[in-house]
Amino acid sequence: MSTIERSIAVLEQVGDHANPILVKETRQSLKSRQFVVTFMLLLAASWFIFTMGIMLGGDAIEFGAIGNEFFWFFYVILAFAVLVLVPFGAYRSLLAEKDQATYDLLSITTLSPRQIVWGKLSSALVQVLIFYSAIAPFIAFTSLLQGFDFLMVAFMLIVTLLMAMLSSIIAIASSAMTKQRQYQGLTSLFVLGALVIQTLVLLSIVGRFVNSFSLVDAEAWWTLAFGVVIAGSYFLLFQKVATAHLTFESDDRISGIRMVFSGQFFLLWIGIFVMTWLAPLTFSINDELVLPAIVVSYVHWGLVGLFAVTEDPYLSRRIRRDLPKGRLRRLLFAPFLQGGNRGFVYVLFHLAILTGISFMLVPMLGSGTWSLDVPIAMTCYLVIILGMACALARWCLLLSSDIRAGHVRVLTLIIVAIASMLPFVPMLWTPAYRFTFNLTMILNPIATLIHLANDGHQATAVIPVLCIGAVVAILVNLRAMRAGLNVILRSDVKPRSLVVIDDVTIWEEEREAQTAELEGRE
């Protein structure tokens, strides 16, 4: 067997174990006019820069330290190709599958949604690597010039590769979420615009970072490592989101996403503790590090919570059949399962941990920063708002199945916005109104938090009111939360039976579970 035959045989074997979508898309790409044109344009632009650089550079080519400047030109072209064209191609690729009705054919094969997402992503990676290989000879040329910083260039290329992958997975998740055909044009435009803006921002950040970055600077490396971990967590999150949107309705789409949200939260704090422990000279528990992390954590749980507490409590037989066997394992797993009531338990659990962390760290910050009133107030506000959203979602679903989770989320935001504006209504007819914080301002979380952060005089009155509000929010949802957990703890998949209710035949068992949860029955 000749070397070529052996190579082909090896490639065949590799191809056999490669993702089928990767094989298909690579074959298609190599034949597609769009890819060939893009590739040729990239080469032509690089040749143009190369030629112009040589012509205009004059003596500087030989004697000047222009390696990095030269590299920048090639880098901008490469960045545009891998940060705009490749992610947009990935976005269009999944959308085209839906448009051309090939997605249906794909989804009834034995390929899992995860394999489909990874297949699309790996074909984006192949394209990125092809673009890298196209520009490699030009970068090799610049490496011969003076002023070329090899480590910095390698660092930039690696960061750009990771950014391209992150952008691609976000683009794939966006196309997985795009259901309505009429919005496709608009979302395509939005995605393209976002990718261009992201590339411009990244170029400016990289430009600044490269100038200030020192390979011996420990803080820069720690910050970079931290950034990579956080970016990695978002990569995982969008991969889960894309997979969830491609997953069949009776499957568990939510628990993976909830686990990533929890993971992100713990990563942030573990990261902070690890950095302050391993590099105490560089990082310390101070207000510049801790306070932003606390605020980011509360915003994180506010956003995640709004989605989690308004979910439909429907759990298919398939999900209930695959629940863990032991009671304790079920109890631990329950908050991660779909459903607003379980979502509220899930958020409360994390808010309790966040409040505990705040209680531990805020006193260490010394005087001149927050008092403990601020994290207490933030926790109370989130419990009140999310508790209200959770109850609203339940009541709305009992009223009509036409009311969706999205409607409840918008309704919650409207209520919060109106409540926040109410204390300022007197300003409308009192021209000489002077803003001073009074207890009615409690309806406005931002004004109250600012007041508390500034060590306001009303703190002693505000905190008890907010605590009472949070307790009420928990009590209103208590029965429903217990019911939501009990559904999981006692969930035995029984033989199916149908009932006819209001002229509609439905599964008795599922209806029972759902209604019990909505009504907070056990």
Partner: protein, 354 residues
């Protein structure tokens, strides 16, 4: 509230009659889109080696039902089973056993025939020699071998449908769901696709559920049918069973919103037969004469022949033939036409659209 509709429906489904376990079983399937009841309490079964026609006007709920069977859509209520596996609980197992051919082909650009089949073989988990064998088997069965290297976008409609059928067969499924496989094909291509489907059921013992608007063709390959209108199954079973169900249905209850025109006395309605007479001349005189005869209705005149509905028994038919000859009509042919799928469909459906 607790009386189970499932149990009730088990009784309404026809017995298997020694055909073994059903490969397709739909139980009280519902699929609502808001207020629209696209599929409303649909139940039927199909058995190995059976070709079942799924017939209904546009918007009747055929494609929605088929999409639920193919695990592309979730039912609002009810369930469907492929070889005993629920499409809700075990969609992954169902996908291994099922081949679905949708009404739209779904072409990939920049791909040739063999690459298309190779991709789906990979997607169904075939590796190495198994994959090559699966592709080859399908190329041979669909007679696409000579077009293997042709881009799929350059294939004719007929060849595209063959390829689509080939893709459906790549993992050798037990059950085939074919949504309008002959739509838009020329007569030759239609016959070819029909022959392939007949072969799949008779030789390979596949269960085939096929929807089509071309009822004459379905009648030739289907041994049973399910007729759906406005999301509800009006009749299912063999053509004869459908006729029987039709009579029973009319006798028991009129459909919601439809006047009970036939009334309960329809149980006494005599058998009707469509008869055809071909004569050498005097077609118009024969038409006038037939209109005056007892048991004759719905007379249709062609260039040399006349068809009409006859509601008399065999003796009355014999008497009519004798009188045609006695009246000096130059008779060339006198034929009785059995009730076709088309007749059954026309008799049962009322053209209700949602």
């Amino acid at each position: 509230m607790s009386e189970t509709a499932a149990n009730m429906d088990q009784q309404s489904l026809p017995p298997s009659n020694g055909r073994g376990e059903p490969t397709i079983e739909i139980q009280n399937l519902h699929r609502f889109f808001g207020k629209l009841k696209a599929v409303n309490d649909v139940s039927f079964r199909a058995y190995p080696g059976q070709v079942m026609g799924f017939i209904g006007p546009n918007g009747a709920g055929k494609t929605t039902t088929m999409r639920v069977l193919a695990t592309l859509d979730m039912p609002t209520a009810g369930d469907a089973f492929i070889c005993g596996h629920s499409v809700i609980d075990d969609p992954d197992k169902v996908r291994r056993l099922l081949g679905f051919m949708p009404d739209s082909f779904g072409r990939y650009p920049n791909m040739d025939v063999v690459e298309y089949l190779d991709f789906f073989a990979r997607a169904y988990g075939f590796r190495g020699a198994d994959r090559r064998d699966a592709v080859e088997r399908v190329l041979v069965f669909t007679e696409l071998r000579k077009l293997a290297d042709k881009p799929i976008t350059a294939l004719s409609k007929g060849m595209s449908q063959r390829l689509c059928l080939g893709r459906t067969l790549i993992h050798d499924p037990e059950v085939l769901i074919l949504d309008e496989p002959a739509a838009g094909l020329d007569p030759r291509a239609r016959v070819e696709v029909r022959e392939l489907i007949a072969l799949l059921a008779s030789e390979m013992k596949k269960t085939v559920l096929i929807s089509s608007h071309i009822l004459t063709e379905l009648g030739e390959i289907c041994d049973s049918a399910a007729i759906i209108e406005a999301g509800e199954i009006l009749a299912h079973g063999t053509i004869e069973e459908i006729q029987a169900q039709r009579k029973r249905r009319r006798a028991v209850a009129p459909r919601e919103g439809v006047e009970a025109v036939d009334g309960p006395h329809d149980d006494d309605e005599p058998e009707t037969t469509v008869l055809g007479v071909r004569v050498l001349s005097d077609v118009e005189r024969l038409e006038r004469w037939l209109l005056e005869q007892p048991f004759v209705s719905a007379v249709n005149m062609g260039p040399q022949q006349i068809s009409f509905t006859f509601s008399g028994d065999a003796a009355a038919q014999c008497d009519l033939l004798r009188r045609i000859v006695e009246n000096k009509f130059e008779l060339l042919e006198f034929t009785g036409k059995t009730q076709s799928l088309e007749d059954a469909f026309m008799a049962i459906t009322e053209g209700i659209t949602q």
